[in-house]
Amino acid sequence: MRLSCQLRGIVSESPDQIRAVYIMDKDGTVITYVTNTMLINTSSTFLAAPRFISSLKGLVSALPIGGINYVLMQGIEGIIQLMSIKDVGYIMVIINSEASIGLTRIILEKYADKLYGLLRKLLSASEEEIVEVVNVEITPKDIEDVINFIRSKAAI
């Protein structure tokens, strides 16, 4: 399929460094992925570890910008670089050594538009939904609540 071809393009850009590219929806269900040893186009779902996904979600929701941004994480094989599209889904690129962070970044930058369009098509989300920035103002009272919460939990 079209999608897989585009993913394959990304992987073949740097076959020895990029292990895999996954596209997941917002619940962490992998919609399609490709690795450098095989090309799999799934309609069958593959569920990533829920805890891992929930922490990814936490991370993503804390990032203040909409649209596309980068999140980098340490993984078994080096760095997992995650590209998030707020509230819509994730694109995850797995690479095999930490030395290749810079390279992956360049590749992601190069393919950003393509991946972005891909995910939008997949999830039939509108442009507005994807770039929406949710920015709720924090008040002094909120911080006060956090301090009180800490005091109550830690008994200080």
């Binding site: 941004n69 993984g75 911080i143």
Partner: protein
């Protein structure tokens, strides 16, 4: 109901104690940290944070605090700005076991001051349990921190100490928000 997120960054150079700080806090507070996906590779603690430490604490249904520890090594400096963007405040941790170690922090501290000039922050002089530890006054001098920036002694392995530093940072953030509110109210009145 939109969820509010408070974003706090834990900065500081390589080996300052950022990971230790987040870990100690997570022992006393209900902080959800990343599931380690590095199984096997980290059996001795000489590991360095390649990406970043992360902790999430739910205060209310609609209020969550996120802690981000950033990688200290200079070669990861391209990530500093990405991770710090949109933060409400940061803790800058230095290894205060010797003046040399404190001096090593100057570059990163200046980076934060230049890129986030008005973001509330405090400095933590970590490893105060070490007999040769440099005092907070000297650290403030070396880092050329502005007069109003607090430098707190810290032992990141100690729960009370870590909590105290976190609460102090939150108070700074609160004061800053109070000032901001005052300022914008004055503007409206004029």
């Amino acid at each position: 109901m939109p969820v509010k997120t408070i974003k706090i960054v834990i900065a500081g150079p390589y080996g300052a104690g950022k990971t230790t700080f987040v870990k100690t806090l997570s022992e006393v507070l209900p902080i959800d940290t990343e599931a380690p996906i590095t199984k096997g590779l980290m059996d001795n603690k000489k590991s360095t944070t390649v990406a970043f430490d992360y902790g999430r604490m739910k205060v209310r249904e609609d209020l969550v605090v996120h802690l981000f520890g950033i990688p200290g090594q200079e070669r990861f400096s391209f990530m500093w700005k990405i991770i710090a963007r949109g933060m409400h405040g940061y803790l800058f941790i230095v290894d205060s076991s010797s003046e040399e170690r404190v001096k090593e922090a100057l570059g990163m501290y200046n980076f934060f001051r230049e890129n986030f000039p008005s973001t509330p922050h405090i400095i933590a002089a970590n490893k105060q349990d070490i007999p040769t530890a440099v005092d907070t006054f000297t650290i403030k001098n070396i880092l050329k921190a502005p007069y109003e920036v607090k430098v707190m002694p810290l032992i990141a392995t100690n729960r009370r100490s870590a909590l105290f530093v976190l609460v102090t940072l939150l108070e700074e953030i609160k004061n800053y928000l109070v000032e901001m509110t005052k300022y914008s109210n004055e503007e409206i009145q004029q």
